[in-house]
């Protein structure tokens, strides 16, 4: 509901626009002429089998991986440029990326990690930066003592949250999440899902969410893109359940998928 308000007047503005993307290693093709639009204020979930190229797709969008063919534009700007160029820097302060293992800088404390983008792009005083770091930690559900710890002292789930806090440091318009809930306990994963939804609603965030977690998929994204046979199949969860592709059928109608979706149905009935 609220997200719609954000989109008013710019309903179909594509934040990410991919045309004819081809990626592959050697003779193995990962993406075969993929087209994709991600709209402002939308959460797009991306799923696919292991090794189907979800992470490569994400890397192509943020410019870490130069595609063989095709164009990728973020906020109307191609990301195929040299990743450290000034044009890319202007983009990089408008997005935040959470990598699978958190990718925290190991020689810095969590607080210092969160302050890296603040230091780079703003002229805040140290006191305000400390406060911002603290509220970011609170936002991702970490106790503030965590701020003084080094990444090597954190558990996998905590690293992920700290990585998210760093990705959120600049209040970005676009957030890339690479398997944010894998390795989290179900309670934390639920909280994470709620957090992402909340951020989308409040800040009008656009989220590109790579995930395997079918609970996250039913709770969070507006649309889901399935990477199957080197192509993208895009739709809502209901549309995808009706898709005839065997992999998609297995994915959404397998035991785990059915259980997760069933709980959604009962939940919506209870709501009525």
């Amino acid at each position: 509901m609220k997200s719609v308000q954000h989109q008013n007047g710019r309903e179909k503005e594509a934040v990410i626009r991919i045309r004819g993307l081809v990626n592959g290693f050697g003779s193995k093709l990962l993406h075969d002429h993929i087209d994709l639009d991600v709209h402002r204020g939308e959460v797009l979930g991306v799923v696919g089998g292991s090794g189907a190229g979800k992470s490569v797709l994400l890397r192509s969008i943020v410019g870490l991986n130069r595609p063989k063919e095709g164009t990728v534009e973020v906020f109307g700007q191609p990301t195929s440029e040299e990743i450290e160029s000034p044009a890319m820097r202007a983009l990089e302060m408008r997005w935040g990326v959470l990598f699978q293992e958190g990718a925290l800088f190991s020689s810095q404390t969590v607080t210092e990690n969160i302050q890296v983008p603040l230091r780079e792009y703003t002229s805040m005083g140290q006191e305000l930066m400390d406060e911002i770091a603290e509220i970011k930690l609170a936002m991702v559900g970490l106790p503030c003592e965590t701020g003084d710890k080094y990444p090597s002292e954190l558990s996998g789930g905590m690293k992920k949250r700290a990585g998210l806090a760093r990705a959120l440091a600049l209040d970005p318009e676009l957030l890339f999440l690479d398997e944010p809930t894998s390795g989290l306990d179900p309670i934390s994963a639920n909280q994470f899902d709620e957090l992402v939804t909340q951020l989308r609603d409040i800040l009008g965030l656009t989220v590109f969410l790579v995930t395997h977690d079918i609970d996250t998929l039913r709770a969070v994204p507006d649309r889901i893109a399935v990477l199957v046979n080197q192509k993208l199949v895009i739709g809502t969860i209901e549309e995808l359940r009706k898709n005839k592709d065997p992999w998609i059928q297995d994915y959404f109608s397998g035991v785990r998928g059915r259980a997760a979706l069933a709980s959604k149905d009962t939940a919506s009935e209870e709501a009525r």
Partner: protein, 382 residues
């Protein structure tokens, strides 16, 4: 340079009304503006004005940095005993403020190290105990490796990884041939040149060849090779084993019941103990060749004449005195390299730190041992 702060946005503003009772805020309170807002809000002494209300209804955009500033302002007012009623924040942004509005739990951090003289004393003590424990731990490691080596040779079929040993010999020995050869050759040229210039004053140029032969075989060949290998292979051992620790590969091996000394350390130690003497012999030959070429051009001594002169000056003993040091140096370099690799903690900085330490320590130990050998040989009269 790109900065968030020159983005074109409707400016954030705040204004105290005339009697100073109400603070009106508006515009885009976002991170791009927050550094400026922070400074300006700090300059505004709110408690002085006795303001009691904040009107945030004109806020057009709010992100978490802006929301925090708003929240902090309200708290400052409440701290000054003013009862702040509603913020009149647009409905859309209320959940954000509520999310952030949690009591602050953190205590100001205190450093554990006291200031002044006691602090300095504390640091000296900490370094001293650290060094002591490190030395003890290294000795313990030496013991463990020795025991495991003996066990491995007692049951060579089971514990010796022949393929890995040969791989290490190739990596540390054969692949080092170009660099060791070139540097030894150049050192030979330099020694011969210096010898000729100095000894010419006494008309004893030909003694250069004797000096060159003795220096190269006894000291220079083995020392140069050991130092190059410490920088080249010792660092590689630490970095490799260290990265394996960072990746939890060592943990994985241990849970599979693989003995890390057998699999990682012994092949490196045995490989280097085999490779370094061979490299030393090669370095000796290259060094002598460098000297021979210098003598040919500077003194006109032909190669056969050079060899005859060498033959008179040297004994087999001279060569052996140099070569016997090589396996000892190799053992120390490999031991330190592997030991420091296992000390790596699970972060990237630690790999770099310990690799540096490994090279410094092994070069240090090589030179100290070389001095010890010299003393020992002179006492034994060799």
């Amino acid at each position: 340079m790109a900065s968030l702060e020159n983005a074109a946005e409707p400016e954030a503003w705040f204004k105290l009304d005339r009697d100073g009772r109400k603070l009106a805020v508006g515009g885009a309170w976002t991170i791009a503006e927050s550094a400026r807002l922070d400074r300006e809000l700090a300059a505004l002494n709110l408690s002085e004005h006795g303001a009691v209300a904040i009107d945030a209804s004109k806020i057009s955009r709010l992100d978490s940095a802006g929301a925090w500033l708003l929240l902090r302002t309200r708290r400052a007012l409440e701290g000054a005993d003013a009862k702040v009623s509603d913020l009149h924040l647009p409905e859309l942004y209320r959940p954000l403020l509520e999310t952030l509005d949690q009591p602050r739990k953190s205590e100001p951090r205190k450093s554990r190290i006291p200031a002044g003289f006691r602090g300095r004393l504390y640091k000296i003590g900490r370094t001293a105990t650290h060094t002591l424990f490190q030395t003890l731990s290294m000795l313990g490691y030496l013991g463990r490796v020795t025991v495991e080596t003996l066990e491995a040779f007692a049951k060579p079929k089971h514990n010796l990884r022949i393929a890995a040993i040969f791989q290490q010999i190739e990596e540390t020995g054969i692949n080092a041939l170009p660099i060791v050869g070139l540097l030894s050759f150049l050192i030979g040229v330099v020694i011969a040149y210096q010898g000729i210039t100095q000894l010419r004053q006494f008309g004893a140029e030909l003694l250069t060849i004797d000096g060159l032969g003795i220096i190269t075989l006894r000291e220079m060949g083995v020392l140069m090779t050991a130092i190059i290998v410490a920088g080249r292979s010792g660092s590689a051992f630490t970095a490799h084993i260290g990265s394996m620790r960072v990746n939890q590969e060592i943990d994985a091996m241990q849970t599979m019941g693989l003995n890390t000394v057998d699999t990682l350390v012994l092949p490196r130690i045995i490989g280097l103990v085999v490779a370094l003497p061979l490299l030393t012999l090669y370095a000796d030959i290259m060094g002598l060749m460098g000297g021979a070429i210098m003598c040919y051009f500077d003194l006109g001594v032909t190669f056969p004449a050079f060899m005859r002169e060498l033959q008179q000056a040297l004994e087999v003993k001279t060569l052996l005195v140099g070569l016997v040091k090589a396996p000892v140096f190799a053992f120390v370099i490999a031991l330190v390299g592997c030991y420091e690799g296992f000390q790596v903690e699970r972060n990237a900085a630690s790999v770099g730190l310990l690799t540096t330490r490994s090279v410094v320590e092994s070069v240090f130990l090589v030179i100290v041992l070389d001095a010890a050998f010299s003393v020992m040989f002179s006492v034994l009269g060799i």
